[in-house]
């Protein structure tokens, strides 16, 4: 009995697949529209996931940059560095001399020649203070920052964690926005599938009438349409995945170059296995649901005359 049930469903599934190949252009168009619609939130999701991965890396080495006053001599700077190194909250301190800062800036900014024209080095010396892991919580960092600001040689003390936090907050906001966008686009997919199925139902009006006259139940008539919707949703989701992958492939090179400028080995990651399953499952579900809503509404209107 159960075997028969599954056999019948399998038959309907392949019949629906056959129906799709009979009108390839219409089917392809629907699948393409669903694919693009789903690719939008999926693409944003991938982008945000990757940005969050980058930001997580930054957060681990939250650091305080001390920009020293212009008149502080290298010897005084070294002395200050030694003093800070002895603070319990500090793990280590990097000293970037004015000359080293200028050389680095020349190398990275591309203004090399132009900078040679300057009479004197405009850059301050910098002490980069790495807090000890045990003192990396926000309160300790704030206390450390306050103490460092009190040093007379320090012009500006900047906690680099601030903007990382802001970035995180922004990414969090973007994530929520993607959810809202995805919700809106999910409704769009429902409408797209619903409209396609509506047309399919009306196209087969005579057939539906005849099946009703010879005793076909609504469930029997609905079944091929539900499979059609399910298939379109699944194929649309697979297309969305392919589109996102293609976009990442095209962006892999520029992103790699950008990352190397920051001295990073960062590589973009596509949707993970679970997210891919979720995307395809969502596509199938939306296709089925859109079809169910449309068929339910239009089947009632078709009665034998």
């Amino acid at each position: 009995m159960i075997k028969k049930y599954f056999l019948r469903h399998a038959q309907t599934f392949f019949f629906s697949l056959g129906q799709l190949t009979r009108t390839p252009v219409a089917a392809l168009l629907t699948v393409a529209v669903i694919g693009i619609t789903l690719a939008l939130p999926a693409g944003f999701y991938v982008a945000i996931e990757n940005m969050q991965r980058v930001a997580r890396g930054w957060e681990d080495n939250g650091q305080i940059s001390l920009f020293l006053k212009q008149d502080v001599s290298p010897a005084a700077a070294a002395k200050l560095a030694d003093k800070i190194r002895r603070l319990p909250a500090v793990s280590w301190v990097d000293y970037v001399s004015r000359e080293a800062a200028l050389a680095e800036f020349k190398r990275l900014s591309g203004f090399g020649e132009a900078l040679d024209a300057l009479e004197r080095n405009p850059l301050p010396a910098v002490l980069v203070v790495h807090p000890a892991a045990a003192h990396a919580d926000p309160d300790s960092l704030q206390a450390l920052l306050k103490e460092l600001r009190r040093q007379s040689e320090v012009d500006i003390a900047q906690l680099d964690l601030d903007w990382v936090r802001r970035l995180h907050a922004m990414l969090g906001l973007a994530r929520e926005s993607v959810l809202i966008l995805a919700g809106g686009l999910a409704i769009a997919v429902l409408l797209i599938v619903g409209n396609t199925i509506r047309l399919a139902v009306l196209n087969r009006r005579d057939e539906i009438e005849i099946i009703k006259l010879i005793g076909g139940t609504n469930a029997f008539i609905r079944r091929p349409f539900l499979y059609t919707g399910l298939l379109q949703g699944l194929l649309g989701a697979i297309l969305a995945w392919l589109l996102v992958s293609l976009a990442l492939l095209l962006l892999a090179n520029p992103i790699g170059q950008l990352a190397s400028l920051y001295g990073s080995q960062f590589e973009v990651q596509n949707l993970g296995f679970q997210s891919t399953l979720a995307l395809i499952g969502m596509g199938g579900l939306l296709g089925w649901l859109g079809s169910r809503l449309a068929v339910g509404r239009h089947l009632r209107s078709i009665e034998p005359r």
Binding site: K4, L7, R8, D206, E207, E209, I210, I211, K212, L213, I214, G215, G216, T217, N218, F220, E303, P304, R305
Partner: protein, 223 residues
């Protein structure tokens, strides 16, 4: 098989298609429903197949009360009635075989049973050699025979026909009538709506005549 007591059908808008119909057709009987256009023949058939519901009176078909049968039971109710149409109502994009198999697929018949039963039905109407053809390539008489095979493939106890020979010439109409007489002989209840007098004269069966929605003449059972 069919029992109507004081049945009336009024369509929305106030048109009375049938008024106070009393009718009793026993199992295994064969009868013709006749009358001018608009007399109510089609409405009567629509009531029997539950395309429409009676507005007044009591109607029983196959032991089921037509005024009380819930909507969701209608498909199962229709499986016991074979219907033949004037315009055949075949699916043009399916072969003769698939058209005849449709009622079996709809009712979830055993897959191994289907070919045997489809071929038996096609043999009955003499179209066994055309099972791979599409309806459009068949003559009108052949298409109607496909329709009849489809109506009977489920072996329903009741066969309804709505102007089954309306689009056929006299010779083909006679062939179709012979098929119906054969089914009647095998115990199927047959009810044919027609205004083809020649057909009625030739069959010499019970005649129920409608006029302006009322029963004008009923030659009664056993005529």
């Amino acid at each position: 098989m069919i029992r109507f007591t004081h049945v009336a059908k009024r369509y929305p808008g106030g048109f009375d298609a049938l008024r106070n119909i009393n009718l009793n057709i026993a199992a295994g009987e064969m009868a013709f429903i006749t009358g001018h256009s608009g007399a109510g023949k089609s409405t009567l058939l629509k009531l029997i197949t539950l395309i429409e519901r009676p507005t007044r009176g009591e109607a029983f078909v196959n032991g089921k009360n037509l005024t009380k049968l819930p909507r969701r039971r209608i498909p199962y109710f229709r499986r016991d009635i074979g219907v033949v149409f004037q315009d055949y109502k075949l699916l043009q994009d399916r072969t003769v075989y698939d058209n005849v198999a449709l009622p079996l697929i709809v009712t979830g018949a055993d897959d191994r049973e289907i070919p045997r039963r489809v071929r038996a039905a096609l043999e009955m109407v003499g179209l066994l050699d055309k099972e791979r053809m599409y309806p459009i390539t068949l003559s009108g008489g052949e298409q109607q025979r496909v329709g009849i095979a489809r109506a009977l493939v489920n072996k329903p106890p009741l066969l309804l026909a709505d102007e089954p020979t309306g689009n056929l010439d006299a010779r083909l109409a006679d062939e179709i009538l012979d098929l119906f007489l054969g089914f009647h002989h095998h115990g199927v209840t047959v009810l044919i709506a027609t205004h083809d007098g020649h057909l009625i004269d030739r069959a010499r069966k019970r005649v129920i005549e409608l006029s302006h929605g009322e029963l004008a003449r009923d030659t009664g059972a056993g005529a």
